[in-house]
Amino acid sequence: MNVELRSIRKTFGTIQANAGISLSVPSSCIQGILGENGAGKSTLMKILSGFFHPDEGEILLEGERTIITSPADAIRLGIGMLHQDPLDFPPFRIIDDFILGRKGGLFPDRRRAGKELKALAAQFGFDLDPDAWVDTLTVGERQQLEILRLLWLGAQVLILDEPTTGISQPQKEKLFATLKSLAGQGMTIIFVSHKLEDVEFLCDRVAVLRQGQLAGTAAPPYQTSALVRMMFGKDVALGARTAAQPGRSILSLEAVGIDGARLQIRDVSFRVCAGEVIGLAGMEGSGQSLLLSSCAGLTRTVAGHVGITDCDMTGHSYHAFMRKGVAYLPAARLEQGLVPGLSLAEHFVLSEGRGGPFIDRRAAAAAARERIDTYNIKGAPSHPVEALSGGNQQRMLLALLKKELSLILLEHPTRGLDIESTLYIWGKLKERCAQGAAILFISADLDEVLQYSDRVLVFFAGRMSPALPAEGLSVERLGELIGGKGWGAFARETARA
């Protein structure tokens, strides 16, 4: 289906998300939409898929002016969107998730739908059991399910929003093959991403958005530097790698075992020294989150010992770990990291702890202002935290860290942040390392893992690799390990040792 967007405008409050974007995508084409976070990609796609109505501008399908009133309306017209976090029902069986939303009689024919699901899956080499539960699937498999579902509903235009975040390398290859075959069958594919590499590899053409406007378009062969200039409006130099000078031992795990809801980790041992940055890579739910939270005492270990700076902390609570200088920063900033309704100043008072029963509001405001300046947070001490943008919330979390820390544990420290905030955050984290802290972080962004880690731990189905030096580790090798390939080598190494 030919899709055309004409001077689309959309404003949220004072922010102009789309400032007159025009774009035309013919059928059988894989169109890449590239841009930083906040460039307006998601808004544009949500307008096309019926989530938002544009303030101005129009949408043409096969040359006809069309008004799309809702996502359901969009799919009736043949436009399906795959969201970054697939909009499915984790507690349901796959077949129920598949059927939900399809029109039909009072009693859906589950058997027939199951057969059709299997047939569709076979077509693309997917392996989905209709009777399995959605929450046992990986993000990649949930994407596959959503794609099949949208095709089953008759989608002719498929929008994919950052689909390569959080899936393994083999799954990514499978996804790309699927998209190419769909385009070959005449479908229109719109591929939204901020990853140059993926877009360059997959797309027939690319549109780059910056600050709500179309910054330019490109066709293969792509010039990476030109795309980067269009994305950022300037050249961006990524920070140079700095090798750590490992100091004293900060964290030691000895034969640790952890029981997760669905996963068991057994016999994990390693040691982290001051100044080191350790990246934890793996598909979501492979055990890295369990390990990270048990290094903070948030998840109990069932075997082995956890030591922080020579003290055995096995079985102690998070607050005991905190007193040893451990800090844990969750991925869900506003849900788990900050308290909506409290002001920035109140957060600082809260994290500093006591000092008399009464709060000295004036001193608190002054101290808050100082931190806000140091960490370059756009907000005032009296503002509630929920008024901050994502990047500023992450800065806020960093600003809340105590002065003396030995171990900082982070989940997805830069997820959803623009490049400027990302660089800033890592700058601050590296400062902490220089002061003698060690860092463990989880990231789905392999480039981030390789860029900032000294050593990398890869997780696959509850197994942990030995710590691999990041230098000399390639994205491809890392991707393979995440997908479960090439683990035999470790066994041989262990056997030799």
């Binding site: 984790p90 039909g104 009072l106 009693f107 029981d259």
Partner: protein
């Protein structure tokens, strides 16, 4: 005690569980859609009074039940408007409604206090009623008890087997996903809150026209039943069959208490009267304790095999509410 007496007693257990069932299954429907209707306790009183008053005024038992359903739906509508349209806390509004409905029932029911009126008669099912044993137990009940059996099965089929039922579960689990699949989440939540409220509202007239016929104001002995109903909903894990098990268990234990009272003179009657409430706390404890942090911590100290067994038992008991229960839906 002869077998016949026991059978009659058990038949009474089924009868007295009927209002609990209507209440719990109505609430299950509403909560499956994501709306907690905490007004149950007051609502049952108001519907009992309203249903009895309507029957007194018209002489029609059917109109009494319709009045109960209508009032139940109306109260649910107020809650739906306040929580879905105006986005106020479901707990706060529900709690205010439960107190308001209770006082309304006492105030408006003042003139008909102690009046005698018609009550639901038993409906013998021909032939089946003469089966030895089963006939007494199952087929000499009143119409609402029969309907309560149908309600369990019917609502279970609706929720777990039909297409609209699937959507109902969807809007309670993940409204944003249901929305992109074409559901008008808020309109459906209104619908199911009101339908659930109306079904639960029938519990009132079942009391005032059958189980505890008449209206006796504060001494009706109905105050508190609504909370039991809400606890059964949780115990039932939002599944009509499990809720039915809870309702029957409760009324069986209550009956057992009455039967055993003469045998245990040491236990004062006040204790037996409130026995359902500690029981309610205990059952909620059983279904929830698996989630507690200290349980997890102490489990971690158990040896591997024993731990697995305990975890299995706790998981089986454990219930998980619809993920979006109590949270308003907004499309971005």
């Amino acid at each position: 005690m002869s077998l016949d007496v026991i059978l009659v007693g058990l038949a009474g257990v089924l009868t007295s569980a009927a209002p609990l069932l209507f209440g719990a299954i109505g609430e299950t429907i509403s909560e499956r859609a994501g709306v907690t209707n905490l007004s149950m306790n007051g609502k049952i009183l108001l519907c009992a009074m309203g249903g009895f008053a309507a029957t007194l005024a018209t002489g029609s038992i059917v109109l009494g039940f319709l009045a109960g359903a209508f009032i139940g739906g109306l109260v649910a509508l107020v809650l739906a408007f306040a929580s879905i349209t105006l986005r106020q806390s479901q707990v706060a509004v529900g709690f205010v409604l439960t107190l308001l409905c209770r006082d309304l029932s006492y105030f408006l029911g003042n003139p008909i206090m102690g009046a005698t009126g018609p009550r639901l008669s038993t409906l013998r099912i021909p032939l089946l009623a003469d089966i030895p044993g089963l006939g007494v137990l199952l087929f000499r009940q009143d119409i609402m008890t029969y309907l309560s059996f149908l309600l369990i099965v019917g609502v279970w089929i609706f929720i777990f087997r039909t297409r609209p039922g699937l959507l109902l579960r969807g809007i309670g689990e993940r409204p944003s996903a249901a929305y992109v699949r074409g559901a008008n989440v808020n309109r459906l939540r209104y619908l199911y809150t009101i339908v659930g409220g109306a079904i639960a509202g029938l519990a009132g007239p079942i009391y005032s026209l059958s189980v505890k016929a008449g209206w006796k104001g504060t001494i009706s002995g109905l105050d508190g039943m609504g909370w039991i109903v809400l606890a059964i909903t949780i115990f039932g894990g939002w599944n009509p069959f499990r809720a039915a098990f809870g309702a029957y268990l409760f009324s069986f234990l209550q009956w057992l208490g009455l039967v055993l009272q003469p045998a245990l003179p040491g236990i004062p009657s006040q204790v037996l009267q409130v026995a359902p409430f500690p029981l309610m706390i205990l059952t909620l404890l059983f279904v929830n304790i698996g989630n507690a942090e200290w349980v997890e911590r102490s489990l971690a100290r158990l040896p591997e095999r024993g731990r697995k067994r305990v975890v299995k038992i706790l998981r089986a008991l454990n219930v998980k509410p619809p993920s979006a229960l109590g949270t308003p839906f907004e499309k971005e």
